[in-house]
């Protein structure tokens, strides 16, 4: 009797439990991420962040469901990491990603090894290495490599045929599906009737059997994801290499405006050319050297601006532009005014040059670098070549300055003649080209371009020691 009562109880419990487990989705895992980094405290933190970034990349691409190795062990009961490759395909896993984060000197590296376990997957068996000097960029770069390797097609498999046109498939809300009609790659239609997190019930045109693979256009915009990642790396490098660190808390943007409008002009009046270099110290640079050819070029330009008209007038014309004596022709008068009026521009070009050189050699970035394109355009609108110099392209900056300065001089000299519109038009044309160039030009600072560079392959040899630790290294890498 007692047993009968127990059996009734057990049956009741079983019945209730069975009613609770309706709509139980399975637990799909398509990708396993295995972190093989050496677990020193610093590397442990970074490798853990990188592992999560890799997982996040798969989640954002919504094609392959990821899981960490430990999680996969607990799901499947696999005891040893070595067993994963041998048994992973039994659990529907189609890719294993091995990742290793390490530090060589001041550079962080992350090595990714992709091991596809079937032909259906877009990933190839390969090793990819990314590098960065800013630790926060390593997870972002690893993530970028994963996103780049995805395709814009979502593959899914028919799990069960329910009736003539109704099937259950192994893709659901997680994969970006919604209750709507999609066009398959083969041109037929697929209508999602019931949606679950990892599966769906669909109506398909055509006859399919269990295991058939179908494809639709991915719902994820990978370009947008990559753009967002680049923006985050850009933000990191702009923040970590900001010139405000040179000023110990003072605002670099305010200092830049003050240096440009007050310190530099006075410095150049006292010491033409060299004053521009001295003004860079107001931005916090110490123990720096000027780029001497820039100093000579600026001093030469100032000399030319002051001495050209007196030289043209064979020393007889008045030195000051506002005095129009009988020896000064109307053209010379116009040119004289122009040359003196553009002296502040020359000072500013010299200053921007020395700043660009200082930022490059000291591995910092100029103020307003988060909005570098707008800043470059604004600077170019005010100072010829200013935007390009701001972005570190010294030669392009000088090219535009020389072109516009020369054409402007010709325009001023010929102002009284018919050809003035030609010169004015040329100046406007060059300025327009410069503005467009300033917007589109990529920053030339090494610290910036290295941080945003793509992956490297192990081909190049390098060696060196760091600090007092006598730490030598040898590694192979090649930028591409």
């Amino acid at each position: 009797m007692r047993h009968a009562f127990l059996i009734v109880c057990i049956m009741a419990v079983c019945t209730v439990f069975s009613t609770l487990t309706v709509y139980a989705d399975d637990m799909p895992v398509d990708v396993i991420i295995i972190n093989t980094s050496i677990q020193t405290p610093m590397i442990q933190a970074l490798s853990s962040m990188t592992e999560n970034a890799i997982r996040e990349a798969f989640v954002q691409c919504r094609q392959l469901v990821p899981a960490g190795a430990e999680d996969f062990f607990s799901m499947t009961g696999i005891q040893s990491p070595e067993d994963i490759v041998g048994k992973a395909h039994l659990y529907g896993v189609s890719l294993v990603v091995y990742m290793r984060v390490f530090l060589v000197g001041p550079v962080y590296y992350c090595e990714l090894f992709f091991k596809p376990l079937g032909d259906a997957i877009a990933f190839k068996e390969e090793t990819v290495t990314v590098q960065a000097t800013i630790a926060k960029n390593i997870p972002l770069k690893a993530k970028r490599e994963i996103i780049k390797r995805h395709q814009d097609i979502l593959h899914f498999t028919v799990k069960t045929k329910i009736d003539a046109h109704t099937y259950s498939i192994d893709a659901g809300q997680w994969h970006g599906l919604t209750e709507t009609t999609y066009t398959l790659a083969n041109g037929t239609h697929c209508t999602v009737k019931v949606l679950r997190r990892y599966s769906a019930l669909v109506e398909l045109d055509g006859d399919y059997t269990e295991g058939n693979t179908l494809a639709i256009k991915s719902t994820v915009n990978r370009k947008r994801l990559l753009k967002a990642l680049t923006a985050m790396m850009d933000e990191n490098v702009s923040y970590e290499r900001s010139g405000k660190y040179l000023l110990q808390g003072d605002s670099d943007s305010k200092r830049a405006i003050e240096a440009c409008c007050v310190v530099n002009p006075f410095g150049n009046i006292l010491l033409p050319g060299y004053g521009a270099f001295l003004a860079t110290h107001y931005m916090g640079f110490t123990h720096t050297q000027p780029q001497w050819w820039g100093v000579y070029a600026a001093a030469g330009a100032v000399t030319l601006q002051l001495g050209l008209v007196p030289a043209l007038g064979k020393g007889k014309v008045n030195f000051f532009p506002w005095v129009q004596d009988n020896d000064k022709t109307q053209a010379q008068y116009g040119l004289h005014i122009y040359l003196w009026a553009t002296l502040p521009v020359t000072y500013t070009v010299a200053f921007f040059h020395q700043l660009a050189y200082a930022y490059e050699t000291q591995r910092y970035l100029p103020p307003f670098f988060r909005d570098k394109d707008i800043t470059a355009v604004l600077l170019s609108a005010i100072v010829p070549g200013g935007g390009l110099l701001y972005k570190g392209s010294i030669l392009w900056g000088y090219t535009y300055w020389l072109s516009e300065f020369t054409l402007g001089g010709l325009c001023a000299y010929n102002w009284q003649q018919h050809r003035r519109m030609l010169w004015a038009g040329l100046v406007a044309g060059v300025k327009l080209v410069e503005l467009i160039h300033a917007w589109f030009a990529a920053p030339a600072y090494t610290v910036y371009s290295n941080e945003l560079s793509h992956n490297i392959t192990p081909l190049h040899i390098g060696a060196g020691g760091f600090g007092n630790e006598l730490c030598f290294y040898a590694y192979f890498s090649k930028n591409y």
């Binding site: 047993h3 637990m27 430990e70 970590e240 605002s251």
Partner: protein
């Protein structure tokens, strides 16, 4: 097989527990799971947000909240932390909702993601809502109280989104709704169809009116209605917005508004110098400076032109004074006395709102209804700038300026020098267009006042990431230099 008596007791207890835990029209059981954060500051913010989510959800009394500490302990013990495993755990624990979050540090602040998953009808394990936001703040720079306020605000935004989206199924028996909710209103009722084991759908079967949990007409037994919590969402939003205003704005004094009224003309006159230097430059608001340069400088140019070419000066040379010259002169006076005020308000309210947004300090002058009305009345977008809405501020600024100029142009009587009589002959004004512009200006003014009074202050600590495709927009990609066309509206 001999089974001990104690096992019998355990089975009975389990049976009772399971039977009584079945979700029969009870409040949905909600669990607030792990909110991840890797670094100490991320973890700190994540923990604060989770705590506030639990508190706000509990105060709403629409969920039956699973003990947050116990749930956290259980989830931490779970060997698998992947979404699949956590969802399965939540499902087996009979939860109707589980909330998971993540906080990530970025260069300028934090990215916050909070997801809620539902397990009952009509969700069956799907994600109900995903909240993504960024907060440009360093939580470690904040005192405990400020950090808590920031986290609470983020939590309130998420809970409001959850309440707005979430639907609870309620089953109808004998034309009556049973359960913890008092239901009134018009509802669509659904019938439940099982297309295949594990795949169930709700099909709309009709509409019924429900009064105090009883339907007006006959509804088939077992039909389901979905109730929502939009009112609660509105209440949460209103409550936290009102509370933030109380916290960050000093209590409005009539004297503040009077001082502002008295200072209108000097403030407007000093705009060309004070606004760029002591407003934008001092607070390093370069976006504001750039917008000001593009939008306001041309009007200041006109103001200067209007004063330089004033009629008294032109009369000395006996030159004709056109309608345009007169209008520009009048417009110069308008800009001097009133037209500069919007820029002045923009420069200083931006600073104050920035402080208020991050709970830095209690800011003066802001939040006063009297000041709001006064600024909306003097117009030119002043009221909108006061509330931190630059886009609408500049829209009203340009519309007002154009109408004022049109009005002055129509009002002006041109003067022409008559050489025969050696005196100026006065022309006529354009009365019709003058009245038209006056009418238009009045309409804009009314629209601006109503609009301004209904717009909230730009006080949110987060900028929510989310967009719907609405308006065409030609864009140049900042990072990859791709020119393209996108359709987007940020909201």
């Amino acid at each position: 097989m001999k089974i001990q008596a104690k096992y019998t007791i355990v089975y009975i207890i389990v049976l009772c527990v399971v039977l009584f835990s079945l979700p029969v029209d009870a409040k949905p059981k909600a669990g607030f799971g792990i909110f991840l954060g890797y670094s100490p500051d991320e973890n700190y913010l994540a923990t604060l947000i989770r705590e506030h989510c639990v508190n706000i959800a509990a105060s709403l009394a629409i969920f039956d909240i699973v003990n947050p500490d116990n749930l956290l302990k259980q989830l931490q013990r779970l060997p698998c932390k992947e979404e699949q495993c956590v969802l399965q755990f939540a499902r087996q624990a009979d939860m109707e909702i589980i909330v998971l979050g993540k906080v990530e540090r970025h260069a300028q602040g934090y990215a916050i993601r909070i997801q809620a998953f539902g397990f009952d009808m009509p969700y069956y394990g799907r994600q109900i809502v995903e909240y993504n936001a960024t907060a440009t703040v360093n939580i470690l720079d904040k005192a405990d109280r400020e950090a808590s306020y920031i986290a609470e605000e983020i939590a309130s935004q998420f809970i409001a989104r959850l309440c707005e989206t979430y639907r609870v199924p309620v089953i109808l028996h004998n034309n009556t709704v049973s359960g913890d909710y008092i239901i009134n209103g018009r509802f669509t009722y659904y019938t439940v169809h099982t297309l295949y084991p594990d795949y169930t759908v709700l099909s709309p079967a009709g509409i019924t009116e429900i009064n105090n949990n009883t339907t007006d007409g006959s509804v088939p037994d077992g039909s389901v209605i979905l109730i929502d919590f939009k009112k609660e969402a509105d209440n949460v939003r209103k409550f936290y917005y009102g509370r933030k205003k109380e916290i960050v704005f000093k209590k409005g004094q009539v004297e503040d508004s009077c001082i502002l009224m008295a200072c209108t003309v000097p403030a407007s006159a000093s705009t060309p110098v004070v606004v760029p230097l002591f407003g934008y430059y001092t607070s390093e608001d370069y976006t504001g400076l750039l917008l000001w340069t593009g939008n306001v400088m041309p009007y200041i140019g006109l103001e200067v032109w209007g004063f330089v070419h004033r009629p008294s000066e032109l009369k000395k040379h006996h030159t004709d004074i056109s309608r345009n010259q007169l209008a520009l002169h009048y417009f110069a006076w308008y800009m001097l006395t009133l037209g500069g005020m919007p820029s002045f308000v923009d420069a200083f309210s931006y600073q104050y709102l920035q402080q208020a947004r991050y709970y830095q300090s209690q800011v003066p002058t802001m939040g006063s209804r009297t000041t709001e009305i006064y600024l909306a009345l003097i117009g030119g977008g002043s009221g909108m700038f006061y509330k931190g809405n630059r886009l609408w501020g500049y829209v009203y600024f340009h519309l007002t300026n154009m109408c004022v100029y049109g009005l002055l142009y129509s009002y002006a009587k041109p003067l022409s020098w008559d050489t025969d009589s050696n005196r100026y002959v006065t022309g006529t004004r354009h009365s019709k267009s003058m009245y038209a512009f006056a009418g238009l200006l009045s309409l804009i003014k009314i629209a601006e006042i109503v609009h301004t009074l209904h717009v909230p202050y730009a006080l949110s600590v987060t900028s929510e990431i989310g967009s719907i495709n609405v308006l065409p927009d030609v864009a140049v990609d900042t990072y990859e230099k791709v020119i393209g066309i996108s359709c987007a509206m940020h909201f």
